[in-house]
Each structure stands twice: as C-alpha cells, then as structure tokens.
C-alpha cells in the first residue's frame, strides 16, 4: 500500500511539475495538460509495446525508457501547438489550451491506432524493467519504487539546474514581469513557447510512466489531470512555504505524494463516510478550494 502511494505520487509528481511550470512559473493557465498527458501515455505505450515485442534483449530493456522519451516529445508537441495558437492568433491562454486539448483527443486516438485503449503486452513493463535493473537484489515492489525515486530525483535535479541558468531565470521573470524580460533584449514569445513545451513535455513523460505502471494507455486518462495537478501544487504550497525555486520544485513532489495518499485514503476508507470512487473528483475540487482558502487566511494573519 505505502509503496503504491509513493510510486503513484512520484509518477504523478512529474505531471504536477509541468502544471507548476505553466501556472506558477509562466503564469500561463494551461489546460493543454488534459491532452498532453494522455498523448504521452499513448505514444509511450505504443513505443514500449513495439520494443517489448522485439526479440533483441537490448531493445526490450529500453522499451520503457524509450516510451518515456516518446511521451516527453509527444507532450512537448502538444505544448507547441498551444503556444503557436496563443502567439499567432492572439487568443487567451485558456482558449488556446482548450483548442489543443480538444484536438489532441482525436490525435491520441490515432496514436493508439484508432482504439480508445491499448493494453501493454507484458503485465507492467515498468516492474519488469525495475526488476532487470535491480538484478534481483530487491523485491519487485521495492525496486519499482527505487526506479521511480531515481526518475523523480533526476527530473527534479535537471529542473532545479535549469531554473538557475540564464534561460531559466529569464523564464521565471517572464511570468512575473514580461516588461523586465523585454528590457533585457529577449523575445518574450519564443521564451514562452519553450516554457509551454516544457510544461507539457513533463506531463507527457508522466503519462508514459503512468501507462507503463498501470499496464495500459487510455485516451481518457487526461480527464481531470489539470485539477489534480493544481491540487498537488497547492497542497505542496500549503505544507512548505518558500521563495526558493529548489524548495518550490521539491514541495511539488511532496504535495503529489500527499495528494495520492489522500486519494488512496478516500478510496480505501471513504465508504465509512459514504464516499464512493465517484466522489473523488469532488474531493479534488474541494481540496483546491480548501488550499486556496487556507493560504488566503494564513496570509492575512501573517
């Protein structure tokens, strides 16, 4: 149970990091994630299942990592579509995201070969991969957890480094004060495009991992992921206050694990309070409202 929560928390924390980049860093309310997450799942599952069938052991071992890369790229492509619509047609961010998200529903169906879902041939390729890497040293569940920790830490490390580079600083300033970025002689549109691509590539990667973990990709996987991601980001902000980007990134991962734990609790023991799995979306919504309310109240008192 605890391994399950942690693994899910870590996989979905990468999605939430994407939401953090768009909503918090870029100040760009991006709904594209509802399309880029399943796009990553679909692309990842297709690549992983193709490589899984290969007789070559090397290709087989690369099935999940290659799927993750495919998911990353598919998500980035969805982000590019939103950025292009936003900049070229000068439509509001929300509309640009809705357009891409709607279009990607069909694109995702095409990626999945016209079927709404795709089971992965071997049950849980992620687990197989983790087992291969641990060389049987660790029990399967634990090796999967270690693999997810490593991936999440890698993503965290790369993002942390990125936001300390010149480009990362400029991206942070863009969401804060676009004028300051223009005064620095930087084209704000291009910078925002890269940012939106990153903010969707991460959910794509997360989608590919989720598909590998669950053992299937589904075109409806994206439903509600923006809200889940936002709830995660806000939970993190509630638990840890900081102005430092490193802590802000790390607390997204913490928030994700808490969010998954709350969802797990609601699923497992919710029946005691009359809560069914159908109520989970309502819980997510209430969680967001509660997070905003608590942070407002806390700010007033300070």
């Amino acid at each position: 149970m605890i391994e399950g929560i942690l693994v899910e928390g870590l996989i979905y924390s990468i999605l939430a990091l994407g939401v953090f980049v768009s909503f918090r860093v870029l100040d760009f309310p991006d709904l594209t994630v509802e399309g880029s997450f399943p796009a990553g799942a679909a692309a990842g599952a297709m690549v992983a299942s193709a490589l899984n069938l290969s007789p070559n052991h090397f290709a087989k071992a690369l099935a999940v990592p290659a799927g993750m890369l495919a998911g990353f790229l598919a998500g980035g492509a969805a982000g590019f579509a939103t950025a292009a619509v936003y900049h070229r047609l000068k439509v509001p961010a929300l509309l640009a995201g809705i357009v891409t998200m709607t279009g990607f529903y069909s694109i995702n169906l095409r990626i999945l070969g016209g079927k709404p879902n795709l089971p992965l041939i071997t049950n849980n390729p992620m687990l197989n991969l983790a087992r291969t890497f641990s060389g049987g040293l660790l029990p399967p569940d634990l090796s999967l957890l270690v693999a997810c920790v490593l991936v999440a830490l890698l993503i965290f490390g790369v993002l942390d480094l990125f936001f300390h580079t010149e480009i990362g600083i400029a991206m942070g300033a863009l969401g804060d004060n676009e004028n300051a970025v223009i005064q620095a002689g930087i084209q704000p549109g291009n910078l925002r495009t890269w940012g939106i691509m990153l903010a969707n590539a991460l959910p794509g990667l997360s989608g590919a991992m989720a598909a590998a973990y669950q053992g299937f990709a589904d075109v409806n996987l994206g439903q509600g992921v923006v809200a889940a991601g936002l709830a995660t980001v806000m939970l993190g902000e509630l638990v840890v206050r900081s102005q430092f980007i490193s802590v802000q990134l790390l607390r997204v991962i913490v928030g994700s694990i808490i969010f998954r734990a709350l969802m797990y609790a609601a699923r497992s023991w919710g029946y005691l309070a009359g809560i069914t799995p159908n109520d989970l979306r309502l819980l997510t919504a209430l969680l967001i409202i509660a997070s905003v309310a608590v942070s407002r109240y806390g700010r007033k008192r300070r």
Binding site: H164, I167, I169
Partner: protein, 263 residues
C-alpha cells in the same frame, strides 16, 4: 545618439476617430547629452519616450539610435540600445525574484544561454555595483525584490537599466512616485550613472527645478509638438519662473488660436 524625424503617433478612438499624440515631431540628441522634457499633462512626453523605445508604433517618420534606423525594430530588439526606468517602481523588476536574479537578467542584453546565471564571481561583482547605491542592498542580494521599499526598488531598476551599458537612457518621471528624500537620492544616482556611463538621456519630469539642474538642454512640449528647445547660454539663463512664463505663453497662444477659430 537619438534622432527622431517627423514622427507621428496616433491612437484609434474607435468608430474611425483618431487621436494624434505626436504631430511630425523631430528631435536630435547628440551622444552624451542629457535632455529634460517638460510640458503639461497630455503633451505627449511619455508617448515620445514610448515611441523611441518601441512600446508604441509610429504612423510616420523615422527613429535612429546610434545612427541605426530602428523604426521597424520591435521593442525587445531596441532594448539593446535602450535602458529605461518608468514612474512605477514595480514596472522594471521581477518582484518575486531575488535582487541577484534581477541583476543577472539585466546584466546583459539579448538571447540567453544554458549557463549558470549567478555564479559566485557574478554575485561578488554585483555586490560592488549594488553598494554604489548606498542603500545596504549588497547585504540583501538573496532577498526577493518585492520586499524592498519603493525607493530601493527604483534605485535597483535604475542600476539594472544602465548595467548592460546601453547608449540611451529613457527616464519617465522616475522619481515622481518617491518621497522627497528618496527622489533626491535616485536623482543623484541618475546624474552619477549618466556621467559614469556617458549616456544619452531623455528625462521626462514635472519638477522644473530638477529639470534645470540635471540637464544641459530643456525641451518643452505642448499638444504633441516641441514649443521650446533651450540649450547653451539660453538654458543657463533660464530659471523656474522663466519656464513657467514660457508655459503660459504657449497656453495663451492656444487660447488665441481658439478665438480665431471661433470668430
């Protein structure tokens, strides 16, 4: 060097109506010269600065910075030549980022690289620069800019505007939102930086005394046109009372025209 040739700036009021803010305005400012721009509200002073910086497009005319025709360049490309401080202390800095990060953003113009933005060497260098402001900000490089006072933030914005050594400095009532002590301090820093970096500066102000003190040339605007341009001996002889008389004369001429028009 700034050269503005017959620029026209107008805004659409909707319904086919247009409001012309600058009417074929021309102005040439040589390298290293500081010009105070004065005039009543709505004279087009800020619009002139916006046109030079590229924030508003011109309908006609040409703009040169350092002898280069920049009329067609967008604002972010013109920023290579231009440092800017506006009236609002919040306008030039990213409040949710640290002082050091803001300085890293402003230290260089142009595209960014995948390179650590604030290595220790850069931080040490900036400590020295920020110490020049005399506000103790060198102790607060890791604090968010939103925690600074208006005066501190405006002094930082000024430093950021000149840090990359642009050739042109545009200041739009940049001390107007500050209390007298801070305004004095930022005004002093402005003179210091203009001299140190040999900047060509346009300074919009409503403060006649400061306009006379800080510049070697005074340009008075009214209704989108330059109605007086004082430099050399003419400027040296001028005082606040003289400027006010000039103002009134311009106003009087306007009323005379109105009467002519109506009769």
């Amino acid at each position: 060097m700034i050269r503005v040739e017959d620029i026209v700036v107008s805004f659409s009021l909707g319904g086919g109506q247009e409001h012309t803010v600058l009417r074929k305005l021309s102005l040439e400012v040589e390298r290293g010269q500081t010009v105070s721009i004065i005039g009543s509200n709505g004279a087009g002073k800020s619009t002139l600065l916006n046109a030079v910086a590229g924030t508003v497009p011109v309908r006609a005319g040409k703009i040169f910075l350092d002898s280069k025709d920049v009329t067609a360049l967008p604002e972010w490309q013109r920023a290579l030549y231009v440092g800017r401080v506006r009236q609002d202390p919040l306008a030039g800095t990213a409040g949710d980022m640290t002082v050091l990060d803001n300085l890293a953003l402003a230290a260089r113009k142009g595209p960014r690289r995948f390179r650590l933005a604030t290595p220790p060497r850069f931080a040490r260098e900036m400590e020295g620069k920020v110490a020049q402001l005399g506000m103790g900000l060198e102790q607060r490089l890791k604090e968010n800019v939103s925690r600074l006072s208006g005066g501190q933030r405006q002094a930082l914005t000024l430093l950021m505007a000149v840090l990359s050594r642009p050739s042109v400095l545009l200041l739009d009532e940049h001390t107007a939102a500050l209390d007298p002590a801070n305004a004095e301090m930022v005004g002093g820093l402005t003179r210091k930086f203009i001299a140190e970096f040999e900047l060509t500066a346009l300074i919009v102000t409503h403060d006649m005394k400061r306009a006379l003190e800080q510049a070697t040339r005074i340009v008075m605007m009214h209704e989108g046109e330059i109605i007086a341009d004082l430099s050399g001996a003419e400027k040296e002889k001028m005082d606040v009372a003289g400027l006010v008389r000039l103002f009134k004369k311009a106003r009087g001429a306007e009323y005379a025209e109105d009467r002519d028009l109506l009769s």
